[in-house]
Structures are given as structure tokens and as C-alpha cells.
Symmetry: C2
Subunit: 131 residues, 2 copies
DNA sequence: AACTTATGTAAGAAAATATCACATAAAATA
DNA sequence: TATTTTATGTGATATTTTCTTACATAAGTT
């Protein structure tokens, strides 16, 4: 792991900072952890400490949810080793319609359910914090 | 101010994180603030929140102290607009002997006192956190 | 010797975070 | 449609972190 990756995985933010950085509630942040999407470390006092990588994942989760992808779908996306396929998609297409998401999920790892196609939001420009 | 500078001045770290990042005690960190060397913001709950820039300044302060420069000297150094002269010195010379520091301080802004010339440490490579 | 500097430490208050439990609208499923 | 699950809100209580203020002190300075 290079120096840069190391810095990005340094656990330095308490949940309050992450709340502001992501505009998520503490409840949501802890829930996404419970769902295995992030793995913040704990300090000596048992407080969760988050890394820049965690923050990025949380922002991505927000994007996915806005797209209409449910937790099950998001988990499947993150199961793709290192997120590589999804990342490449985001990097090349930059904007995914609900239909795209649906097609990808179905074709790449079978049906996942939970896609209703009624969410108009699209925000796959990859512009996250501390890039 | 560019995007990068903005990120570096985002107040996101609580004092506990800064303590670990810099290996300074809370007492020292607050004291350097009291001396006007850093200016952490406060959150709604009155807790100090530090930026990457603050962390860098603290690491520089550590370096200066290790070099034998006292608070008065460090303040003078930071009085140099944007730290430009000191930065250029660090960038070009990379290693300053106590004697160098003494000469610089004396010639550039008169005597500052507090330099004993007995400190063997030198660490001006500029390799700080989150670069 | 007396004063100043830079830092340690202690006490009490306030803020942030933890866990656990219960509530619930919307979505999924039977 | 009735039932269950999902994703999140809210409240209570405990613990940790940080704040301010005050006093202490070794080392350096005058």
C-alpha cells in the first residue's frame, strides 16, 4: 500500500465530522456499518474513527440510494472486488440512468430486486470530498 | 483560494486526532494556539476543530522547537508573510544547523534570544502528514 | 535570586458518542 | 390485501472527550 492509500485509510474522523462531511445522520452511518459497507476502527475509548475512504464510501452509498438502489444492491456492488467494475462504469459513463443500473445489476450478478425505476436523480460525477 | 487549499483548511479534526497525528499533548496544542500560531475553529459545542493546515503548522512548530528555536523565534518566523522566506529556506536548504537558524534570525529580524546551540536534531525535509 | 517560559496535572462542567430499545413509513412479499 | 422487512427516527442512560481554570514546576533568562 502506497503512502497515499495509507493516508486515505487513516482513521482520523469522529462520527460528528463524518456527519457534516456526508450530511448523513449518525444513525444512518452506524447502520451502513452494521450492513458491512464500512468498517471504522475504534479508539481506546470505543469511539468510532473514520478514514477518508470510509467517507468516500458513505458518499457513494448516498449516491446509490439516491439512484434508487437498495441496500441489497449496494452490498452486491461492493462485493465486486475493490469495487472495480462499478468504478470503471462510473469513470467511463459518469451518468447512469435507473435503467442502466437495473440492467447492470441483472446482467452482471443476476436479479437483485428493489429497483423501482421511479427515482429521477442522477449524480455519478464522482466528485467527492478530499479527492 | 483553490479547491485544494480549501480542503486543507477545512476544520475537521478534534483535538484527540491532532494529538495522535502530531504526538503533541492537548496542553501544548492549546498553548501554541494561545501563542497565536494556529487558529482552530470551534464547532457548535465549543470544541476546537483543526484543519490539515493546522496540523502542518503544529508539526513545523515541533521541528522548530527541536531545532532549539523558542516560541518568540517561532512567532517571528510565522510573522514572515505566509511563511514565505522560511518555506523557501526549507525548500532549498532542507537542513538547517542551529547556527544557520541563529544567523537567519539575527540578520533578518534582529536577535530573538533562546538559541543555545546544543540541540543536535535536524528534520527539515518537509515530510509532513497528508502531503 | 527573581522572573519568565513551556508544559504537567487536577477538578468540575458540558458536549459527543455508545448501546439498546421501541417506533414507523415505505417497500417487498406472501 | 395482510404481513414482514427495510431503512431510519427517537429516547434513555452510560462513558468518553474536551473545555476552562487554576496551581505547580523545571529550565532558561535577566
Amino acid at each position: 500500500m502506497g503512502e497515499k492509500e495509507l493516508r486515505r485509510s487513516l482513521s482520523v474522523f469522529p462520527i460528528g465530522t463524518v456527519m457534516k462531511l456526508t450530511d448523513l445522520t449518525a444513525r444512518k452511518i452506524r447502520y451502513y456499518e452494521e450492513q458491512g459497507l464500512i468498517h471504522p476502527e475504534r479508539n481506546e475509548g470505543n469511539r468510532r474513527m473514520y478514514s477518508l475512504n470510509d467517507v468516500d464510501v458513505l458518499l457513494e452509498i448516498k449516491d446509490y440510494l439516491t439512484e434508487g438502489v437498495n441496500m441489497a444492491g449496494i452490498k452486491r456492488l461492493y462485493e465486486l472486488k475493490e469495487h472495480e467494475k462499478a468504478d470503471r462504469l462510473k469513470a467511463t459513463q459518469h451518468v447512469l440512468t435507473d435503467d442502466d443500473v437495473r440492467r447492470i445489476l441483472r446482467s452482471e450478478f443476476q436479479a437483485v430486486g428493489g429497483l423501482d425505476g421511479d427515482n429521477p436523480y442522477q449524480n455519478f460525477d464522482g466528485s467527492h470530498i478530499f479527492r
